[in-house]
Symmetry: C2
Subunit: 361 residues, 2 copies
Amino acid sequence: MKTVHVHLGERGYDILIAPGLLEKAGDLFLKNRVGKRIFVVANDDVFQLYGQSLLEQLRERFEATEILIPDGEKHKNLVTVENIYTYLIAQGADRDATLVALGGGVTGDIVGFAAATFLRGIRYIQVPTTLVSQVDSSVGGKTGVNYHLAKNMIGAFYQPHLVYIDPNTLSSLPEREFQSGLYEVVKYGLIYDAEFLSYLDCHLEAIKQRDPAILEQVIGRCCEIKAEITSLDERESDLRRILNFGHTFAHALEAVNAFQGITHGEAVGYGMVAATRLSRSKGLLKPEQAEHIEGVVRKIGPLPSIEDVSAERMLESMERDKKRKEGQIMVVLLKEIGRTLIQPGGEAEISEIWEELRSAC
Amino acid sequence: MKTVHVHLGERGYDILIAPGLLEKAGDLFLKNRVGKRIFVVANDDVFQLYGQSLLEQLRERFEATEILIPDGEKHKNLVTVENIYTYLIAQGADRDATLVALGGGVTGDIVGFAAATFLRGIRYIQVPTTLVSQVDSSVGGKTGVNYHLAKNMIGAFYQPHLVYIDPNTLSSLPEREFQSGLYEVVKYGLIYDAEFLSYLDCHLEAIKQRDPAILEQVIGRCCEIKAEITSLDERESDLRRILNFGHTFAHALEAVNAFQGITHGEAVGYGMVAATRLSRSKGLLKPEQAEHIEGVVRKIGPLPSIEDVSAERMLESMERDKKRKEGQIMVVLLKEIGRTLIQPGGEAEISEIWEELRSAC
């Protein structure tokens, strides 16, 4: 078992990673000082796959109950959060209760926010079951829901009590969703660790085969990097923004597509290619490094077409993005693999890069 | 001007207290590093009294707008919070926006929670205009709203950027509301500072006359005590519970009365008398001290009748109270003036004390 500690003083917590971990939840939750009442929150599908057996595990040591929530981003809203509150109140949950977020990033965000705000904050445990949530959203304490059309508008920084990752859950993930997670994995190498990027490049086939031992290493390294960054900058003031590498483009692309037809990971894939090209065109990154990076990203898998997404629509969307500061569109750029800087992108340059990218589709 | 710092590291903040402070808000907010967009949230009445002139002050230095919310505890709910979100989004508020909570505790709780959860947390400034909120709810970072019938069920611990207290606002407070605040003032002496209790006892008439210079001292000392306690225990794990002196009874009494006919302060007044008598009956507090304490509390003003509130109903309500732990009703008790301890109250003893108290009404 790999253990990564997130250093945040009294808000610090462990990330446990091992194939088969879900089968040991009763003992390991107990060892990690969880109160006696546990509510496992999941959507129907995930509950069928992993929830029922997790509950059985937990019931040997705790009072454990499930709370089912509807599936999908469109239910990531205050209505779902309120339904969780209502259930908790009906069950007489007190400050010692623990919520378990079993599922992908949407479930984690919703449950984290419910935990952050119920009785001014109760314990929650992230049990991410998708690759994206295992390497990204389950670590760092970002919680929240969408509000009308605005993504993650309402939320809180609120750290989990524990992150509990079983790479075996990835075996049930559809190919496209697994690949989408790999873009976020590669991102860590690009922004923080050139050696890790080489490792990923060399082991890409074994990773795609979902070899559990290699996945434990890969997920572990991603969590270490994210833990390091978020413990230095809990509330996203500066350093943490490098995690948004590729995301200025990705968020815009997702918004233009109304979150249809492209996954978040795929949008990040395009975003990283665009940010890499922008870094090269600004003379920050050497052309051969830029080509190498694009090669690694492209090797992950095919990206859906973006030929009908014009640069004009991308820019319009970026204007509305909340990461926009002082009238400038800020972009995370690369100086070399593992070294970033944040600069205004420049509308004309962004536009040119995007048109070049989509016309090659 | 009296300045009290709340020591909470990077979440630390100042409490400024002075008669006439509202007229200097433009300069003092600027000195305290507030972003350029400010939203002043208040109900209609408070906005008429202080909001309009505050906005004029602020507009000399900032972009300032008002957000009006409906008055009263029954609007302390997620609907009001959502209306604030919607307004902020419509106005294009970003992470650099600042909310100002201008009003009593209800406004402070709502605005603090909106600030805690909008874009995962933006700055807010407490500008409390009632005595209770100046000495209690504006300091300490407890924010939240009611959920259906459950008080403060949804909320967050989220510290303000600044607490900004102008005792001159108390001149517009109805007599009964001002007196209600005095119960909370006396509470600080009882739980923490015997000398302060003597000071209050000696100066009660001048305080009741609302002498601004004396109020600055009194409010300042209350804030110091609350700041000391909350900085040692931000998330109410233990020490902070002594602030609940009188509140086990008060919450039950308010709930039994469905929050009608008795103010929170008055309920705390009864609660402190009951807790004092309980402390004496348990042999913790000397009879002459208990009598002295009850005398000080009673001198504040007349308390409304509780003769139709039976001990049975009080106990039923306490059972439901979230402060109940491990099947016991926990009560903050006094060993002497300024020294507390927390113990199970004991249902029979609570019942006896309450019946004695109400039959004397």
